[in-house]
């Protein structure tokens, strides 16, 4: 479909406006630099004050294991994201279903899953439920459990976004003759998507970090690999610093991407 891009924000023909933009950009960079220097100083102060024989040779020796762990974490997280979005969407639909038992059932699932620790869900899910169902694949179980856990939160984010679509929009959809399904597809979801985006990204970032708990059911993801690596090289802490960077390397771009997308969907002002 043809769609002309709309000018957004600043009028670039206006000299003073573009000048203001470049000034604020410089200022932005300066602040960022200042904050970075400050954080580094605090970091250095804290670390140099601790008596600890840093030994980085272990980290370097086990770098390949570290890489495998990182790939496992990312692979698990990616699949769990798909599971969580699907599960969250279905739960949201269930909570809005016209049948009371379905509504109540989905509501209970959301409250139970959000109200109990992921650690306990993983243990019960893996050692009791999966056992009973004869599923002997911790990765499969772990991804499903993690996906369901985050999906329960996503369900509420999605529900909030869908319910924020005004009654006049729903009436307009009925008036042009859309069926229920068409109303969701063409009116509700495209508009709700933008409103759900910030919350959803936050939840997906959480998912990546929460995947570290999968180590309790024997999955060797990044945190578990680092623990093994630290133990093997008799260096109990060193591995955790690159670990933080390895997580940030994914979570920061994800947040950035979400902000970019939000800007693109900003049509309502």
């Amino acid at each position: 479909m043809r769609d002309k891009p709309r000018p957004r924000g600043v009028n670039h023909h206006d000299l003073s406006a573009s000048h203001a933009i470049s000034v604020s950009k410089t200022r932005y960079a300066l602040y960022a630099l200042g904050l970075f220097a400050l954080a580094s100083a605090v970091f250095y102060g804290v670390f140099s004050g601790v008596e600890y024989p840093w030994n980085w040779s272990g980290v370097w020796r086990y770098r390949q294991q570290f890489g495998y762990g990182w790939l496992t974490t990312m692979g698990l997280s990616l699949v769990a994201m798909v599971v969580s979005i699907t599960f969250g969407f279905l739960l949201m639909l269930g909570r809005r279903a016209p049948w009371l038992p379905v509504q109540m059932g989905c509501g209970s699932v959301v409250e139970l899953v959000r109200g109990s620790p992921l650690l306990v869900q993983l243990l019960i899910g893996h050692y009791i439920i999966a056992q009973r169902l004869n599923i002997d694949n911790p990765i499969f179980t772990g991804v499903i459990l993690l996906g369901c856990f985050e999906g329960a939160y996503l369900a509420e984010i999605f529900r909030g976004a869908v319910e924020s679509i005004s009654a006049s929009q729903l009436e307009a959809a009925r008036a042009v003759g859309f069926s229920k399904f068409q109303t969701y597809r063409f009116v509700i979801i495209p508009q709700a998507l933008r409103r759900a985006l910030p919350g959803t990204t936050g939840q997906l970032v959480s998912l990546i970090k929460d995947s570290s708990l999968l180590s309790v059911i024997g999955i060797e993801e990044l945190v578990q690999k680092v623990k093994i690596m630290n133990a093997a090289s008799f260096a109990p802490l060193e591995g955790f610093l690159p670990l933080v960077l390895a997580y940030l390397a994914v979570t920061l771009p994800l947040s950035y991407l979400a902000r970019r997308l939000e800007g693109r969907f900003a049509y309502e002002t």
Partner: protein
């Protein structure tokens, strides 16, 4: 067109927006104005007549054909109608063009190129040349309402239903929109219009249904209603509204 309702009731909780509304127009009514004070049931009656709402009780018929009471039948019925509301009825995430072509393609099964052609034709006819690819937030209130009218007209509806289409507009924009509606009425479009614009109704309507408290107080030709209102309520209403215009 002959519109007929018999004891139509529509409740919202304990409140009856329509409380046994009955009337019949003449056989040749074409532009029907629904008049009356706010909260009198105009908007609800308009939605019932357009099959956007199914009444709790009573019957509605258009040219002696009874309107269906089931959701499935009502959907089919309202796909033959066009609606314009007070405001905010365009889809904000779509351009003026897409607002028109999307229902044409998805509801009426029209091909993309034909839908685009039809949309362009209507947007130009309603004076929106150069605004085809703007989103509603980039249009003025009057332009938005004209785009909404274009969307309602696109599938060539049997009935065009307008619910206070100028209530959210300033006088200049109101003029723009009323001009469009008058042109449509003069071109032969069947219209049901709920409005407070009494002098406009006097110019274009050929039948008036006057509602107070969810009941039809009067149903008569426009000429008769405006010159010889039968009820005291209608006389007061007309006097009150024409005081300053």
């Amino acid at each position: 067109m002959k519109l007929e309702t018999h004891a139509v009731t529509k409740r919202y909780g304990a409140h009856a927006a329509l409380d046994g509304a009955s009337f019949a127009t003449g056989d040749e009514a074409r532009v029907i104005a629904l008049l009356g004070p706010s909260g009198g049931g105009k908007s609800t009656l308009l939605r019932v007549l357009g099959s956007l709402l199914v009444p709790d009780d009573g019957h509605v018929s258009i040219d002696s054909r009874a309107l269906p009471h089931d959701e499935e039948g009502a959907l089919k019925e309202r796909r033959g109608n066009g609606f314009v509301f007070q405001g905010y009825n365009l889809f904000p995430h779509l351009t003026a063009m897409q607002n028109i072509t999307l229902p044409l393609r998805e509801v009426h099964g029209m091909a993309e190129t034909q839908a685009t052609q039809r949309a362009l034709e209507l947007l130009h006819r309603l004076g929106l040349e150069g605004h085809e690819y703007k989103r509603p937030s980039q249009l003025s209130g009057g332009q938005q309402q004209r785009a909404a009218i274009a969307r309602a007209l696109a599938p060539k509806p049997r009935l065009l239903l307008l619910d206070e289409p100028t209530s959210a507009l300033d006088p200049v924009m109101t003029g723009e929109v009323l001009d469009v509606i008058r042109e449509l009425a003069e071109a032969g479009q069947s219209i049901i219009l709920a409005t407070h614009e009494i002098s406009f109704a006097r110019k274009v309507a050929d039948w008036v249904v006057f509602l107070v408290g969810g009941k039809v107080q009067e149903s008569s030709t426009a000429a008769e209603f405006f010159t010889r209102p039968q009820t005291e309520l209608a006389r007061q209403y007309l006097e009150g509204l024409s005081k300053y215009r």
